[in-house]
């Protein structure tokens, strides 16, 4: 039995379809990523799974409990970290943690072993009101509060949004260590680079799942030949490659352009000649493997076409 089963879930708000026929299964102990931009439907799906809102149609279960009929049972066994900080701003770090432990009928000490690694970072600030913590600290506190009752499943809705890259890396390190303790973790994120840290991912766009698989398998499914192209003037390069007849798509990636070609016959020499003819200097072209972001954009493009 899968830990989380989602069957044909749809959610409609008036005339807007926020989720359209979602089907997904998540296994026990998996670290599963839901990858998509704002407005894709990630939070809406999470709200249904943690029993905060009802689906318009379809069914879902968490650990065998139905989200509609067994909401109470689900709430006892899940830990939830919502997209926006929603702990008590005027209670201290310690008071918040104590509160959450006690409403689940326990104490902080009961499951301290689970949160110890994380809590150690914020322990020096335990008398500080939660509202006065920095973004990274709030995140750590929220994670502790979600774990303090030893949940079987952890739902983290965009836990790293708006947080700097160093704190983000640290956070994912913590998640990996939690996974080793046997907790099933479902994380949503708009950051493509975090996708590769998950065992399996679902790419979601405009309420629909574009792909579900391991990051490696999704990367292998990228269908076009891909090159990284660089020249002295990035912006001009982008415009010129867009006008190149062999281009399927081209997107800026830092200081290079990722160029996906329509077919295999176009070689680096052909691209080079084209750019040289337009006056580009210091041209560098190399064949590369696709990353998750390349795949995501290719799928977005395909869905739109």
């Amino acid at each position: 039995m899968n830990t989380i089963e989602i069957k044909k879930i749809s959610k409609v708000f008036g005339s807007k379809t926020a989720l359209n026929n979602i089907n997904m299964s998540i296994k026990q102990g998996e670290l599963f990523g839901l990858i998509g931009a704002d407005g894709a439907g990630k939070s809406t799906l999470f709200d249904i799974l943690v029993t905060l809102s009802a689906a318009t149609s379809g069914s879902a279960s968490v650990h065998g409990f139905d989200v509609e009929k067994d909401a109470k049972n689900i709430r006892r066994i899940v830990g939830y970290m919502p997209g926006r900080f929603s702990l008590y701003q005027d209670l201290t770090v310690y008071e918040n943690l104590n509160f959450f432990a006690s409403i689940f009928g326990g104490t902080i000490e009961d499951n301290y072993h689970l949160i110890k690694d994380i809590y150690e970072h914020i322990a020096p600030f335990k008398e500080r009101p939660a509202g006065k913590l920095s973004g990274g600290m709030k995140q750590k506190l929220a994670l502790c509060c979600a774990l303090v009752h030893q949940p079987k499943v952890l739902f983290l809705d965009e836990p790293t949004t708006g947080v700097d890259p160093v704190s983000r890396k640290e956070f994912w390190g913590m998640l990996k260590r939690l996974q080793e303790k046997g907790i099933t973790i479902l994380v949503s994120t708009p950051y493509m680079d975090e996708a590769v840290l998950c065992e399996r991912i679902a790419l979601i766009q405009e309420g629909e799942i574009m792909a579900i698989d391991t990051p490696v398998a999704i990367i292998k499914s990228f269908t076009h030949p891909l090159y990284s192209v660089k020249s002295k003037k990035l912006y001009q390069l982008l415009k010129d490659l867009r006008n190149f007849k062999e281009t399927y798509s081209c997107y800026a990636f830092g200081q290079t352009v990722h160029l996906a070609l329509k077919n295999q016959d176009t070689t680096a020499i052909i691209i080079q000649d084209y750019l040289h003819g337009l006056g580009h200097e210091n041209i560098e072209i190399k064949s590369i493997d696709a990353g998750i972001e390349d795949c995501f954009m290719e799928l977005m493009k395909k869905t739109a076409e």
Binding site: G36, A37, D38, G39, A40, F125, L133, S134, G135, G136, M137, E158, T161, G162, V163, D164, P165, V166, S167, K169, P190, M192, Q205, L234, Y235, L238, Y251, A252, F253, G254, Q255, E293, F296, M297, M300, K301
Partner: protein, 245 residues
């Protein structure tokens, strides 16, 4: 080269806590300047001083030629500002938002009409002109918000994490708008947590514990730190910070 922004030992203290500690740097006209730093490093405080929103404690700075101590109102009139947290009035239509921002920046009715048409065509929003902003997807809101920050043709535009959470295609479309803007001579001062966006900038600075620990082109910084990406450079600099909470 004319400097758009110039600071010298700019400092801000809150009681005994020094949020911004003697920062000195300049940004040239037409540059795309990336202002980076971990949460708690002092970026937001520094930006607020440069936008005329916060009185500095000591040091000197000028923005668009105006002094940050004595000419804060002139600064506000001559800069554009866009933040992810607040962009537009959701319960007004697109046209009403354009009208509102145009008016508060002191544009004439004729100019507002001209700008409205330009904007709607450029962003392909002619059909949605009379729809509420709330009905627009996030990516479109960002682009509209950016365009409105420029409606009065300011010399400098400040962008505070403008692309947070947006899908990768829209993010790139947004950066193309930034390129066009810089190409036409407007200075762009941007903060971001996306390190690949740091690579789009002409130069970046990285703040750690209230100080600027590095400032150079992305290429030079990567060479200096023997890193292959800006992500690595950032990680090397920011992870040792004490206020990196």
């Amino acid at each position: 080269m004319e400097a758009s922004i110039k600071t010298e030992n700019l400092t801000k203290c809150f009681g005994s806590f020094t949020a911004v500690n003697n920062i000195t740097f300049k940004v040239d006209k037409g540059e795309i300047f990336g202002f980076l730093g971990a949460n708690g490093a002092g970026k937001t405080t520094a930006m607020r001083m440069l936008c005329g929103l916060l009185h500095p404690t000591s040091g000197k700075a000028s923005v668009a030629g105006f002094d940050v101590f004595t000419q804060r109102e002139q600064i506000k009139k001559n800069i554009g500002y866009m933040s992810q947290k607040f962009s537009l009035y959701e319960d007004l239509t697109i046209k009403e938002n354009i009208n509102f921002f145009g008016t508060i920046y002191g544009l004439s009715n004729t100019k507002i009409k001209e700008k409205t048409e330009q904007l709607l065509i450029r962003l392909n929003l002619m059909e949605e002109a009379n729809s509420l902003v709330a009905s627009l997807p996030l990516g479109w809101k960002q682009k509209l918000s950016f365009s409105l920050a420029l409606i009065h043709d300011p010399k400098i535009v400040f962008l505070d994490e403008p692309t947070g959470g947006v899908d990768p295609i829209t993010r790139r479309q947004f950066w193309e708008l930034i390129y066009e803007t810089a190409d036409s001579g407007t200075t762009v001062f941007v903060t971001t947590h996306y390190m690949d966006e740091a690579e789009y900038c002409n130069r970046v600075s990285i703040m750690v514990d209230g100080k600027i620990e590095a400032i150079d082109t992305p290429d030079n910084l990567k060479k200096l730190f023997d890193a292959s990406t800006m992500d690595e450079v950032f990680y090397l600099l920011a992870r040792g910070a004490s206020t990196q909470e």
